[in-house]
Amino acid sequence: MIECHKLTKQFGPLLAVDNLSFQVSPGEVLCFLGPNGAGKTTTMRIIAGFLPPTSGRASVCGLDVETHATAAKRRIGYLPEGAPSYPEMTARSFLEFIADARELAGAKRRARLDEVYGLLHLEPVLEQTIDTLSKGYRRRVGLAQAILHDPEVLILDEPTDGLDPNQKHEVRQLINRMSESKTIIISTHLLEEVDAVCNRAIIIAGGRILADDTPGNLEARSRFHNAVSLKPADRSQLPALRGEIEALPEVVETELDSKSERLTAFFSDRRLSLKTINELADSRGWELSELHLESGRLDEVFRTITGGARA
């Protein structure tokens, strides 16, 4: 459980976080989305207990992160931005140090260490010093550090940054597995990650919450939501097709993506869009290589929401 109440952070003249309030419950994976400098990292740092808020308060499992700092930190696993770690240490001695600091002892310590070595596939590099590791391995050592004590709350600042697609997939699966019992906040620039791991997304810019919703509902805000995209098998038919579709009374406009040669039709009544196009295609006997209903495009929603805020 994470609660933030009117969280504000001021750095000199810069208002980094402006009156943020939200709650995250166990089972929720909350994704912070926002342009660079939006206040994502600052908010995470406040919850993790690294920065004190200028005003407002944050609590973790009912523990105020300022007044009960150490108790709150025990319940948090935190991956700071850039996954910092001590370059001269080996991966093993680094994680042993974290185990010491987290007061893990005996059989439990052994079991937890072995488990995170396995979960993040660290065995081959345990005896290497961290400065010789690839970016992907460094990030994984950072993740291992964050989940070592099996915390109730996980705060991960760009957990998949620098990983290759396979590693990204594995880390997302790992987050999904952990999400049942834990409260998780992640930040990301990757919109595909929102669909892959999150069941809630907060879009922030300029330190304020601009949207707080499920990924599905956010996508529904897109003008692409329930638009229909199609591609004729024979590309020379494209202008004719476009003309006919534009002639339909329900169609507001059409767009042609010149790169993929895919035609997208936007409807005034979104509910009937696919049906209408289907009927038209059937009656004309069009041969289509592609036809699908758009669920919405998060990148477009993101640009609309955050672009508006800047203006």
Partner: protein
């Protein structure tokens, strides 16, 4: 206490994982020997005493201890690991104490490795070993004072070079506080008790009495207070930096 041990162990591992530890120890031993034999008139003094050896420790520490202490916090700020350290369930004082104890234990090791000179002087004559033990203790206390100052300065910056230079300057002033060149600008306009107070802050006065074998509780308290004060200031600086 566990937190202190965890930080201390990590620090010590850090020293020995890099050439830092070995370079420091070798240079310390070479310079200690060189000062003793070249300037200290170790042989010509025809006395079985380690005074020529201990007399140069303050000057040795003046440059070597800041080299050791400069990275303590500046490096954590620079590499961002401070964020990791400060979000572990440790109190700030535990990290401060852990780092200080590690650095102090390390200088104690370097100091202990000068034992051949103790053996030599015992082989050549019959020194007062009580005085030598007291001098070793005094030297260690003084190193602790230098280190506490250095750790504090290192916490204020993320630039190791600045940390080094500022520490050297502060330590130099602390060393020389009892001497004319530093006191003369004060004479005439500052009340005498204050001048006395400044003079009594001098490392050298306190060290020289211990190194002569006189273990005065006041000297021990002086160094203990000095270490305590600067470590406390170290904690405060870290809290202040955190608040941005």
């Amino acid at each position: 206490m566990n937190g202190v041990t965890a930080v201390m162990r990590r620090e010590l591992q850090g020293y020995f994982a890099t050439p830092l530890a070995y370079v420091f120890i070798v240079i310390f031993l070479v310079l200690a020997g060189w000062f003793t034999f070249n300037f200290g008139n170790f042989y010509n003094g025809s006395q079985a005493s380690l005074a020529p050896f201990f007399n140069y420790h303050p000057w040795l520490y003046l440059f070597l201890v800041p080299a050791l202490s400069m990275r303590l916090w500046a490096e954590e700020h620079k590499t961002g690991t401070i964020e990791l350290l400060m979000t572990l369930p440790l109190d700030v004082w535990q990290s401060v104490a852990g780092k200080f104890i590690a650095a102090w234990a390390f200088t104690a090791l370097a100091l202990a490795l000068t034992f051949p000179i103790w053996i030599t002087v015992n082989y050549l004559g019959e020194p007062d070993n009580g005085v030598i033990v007291a001098a070793y203790l005094g030297s260690l206390m003084m190193a602790g004072g230098f280190l506490a100052i250095g750790a504090f300065v290192s916490a204020t910056t993320n630039n190791q070079v600045i940390a080094f230079i500022v520490t050297v300057v502060i330590c130099f002033v602390m060393l020389m506080a009892g001497f004319q060149p530093l006191l003369s600008p004060l004479v005439g306009w500052v009340p005498l008790p204050i001048i006395d107070a400044v003079a009594s802050l001098s490392f050298l006065t306190h060290f020289s009495s211990i190194s002569k074998g006189v273990i005065d509780v006041r000297d021990i308290i002086y160094f203990a207070l000095l270490i305590g004060t600067f470590l406390y200031a170290n904690v405060l600086v870290l809290h202040m930096k955190k608040a941005g």
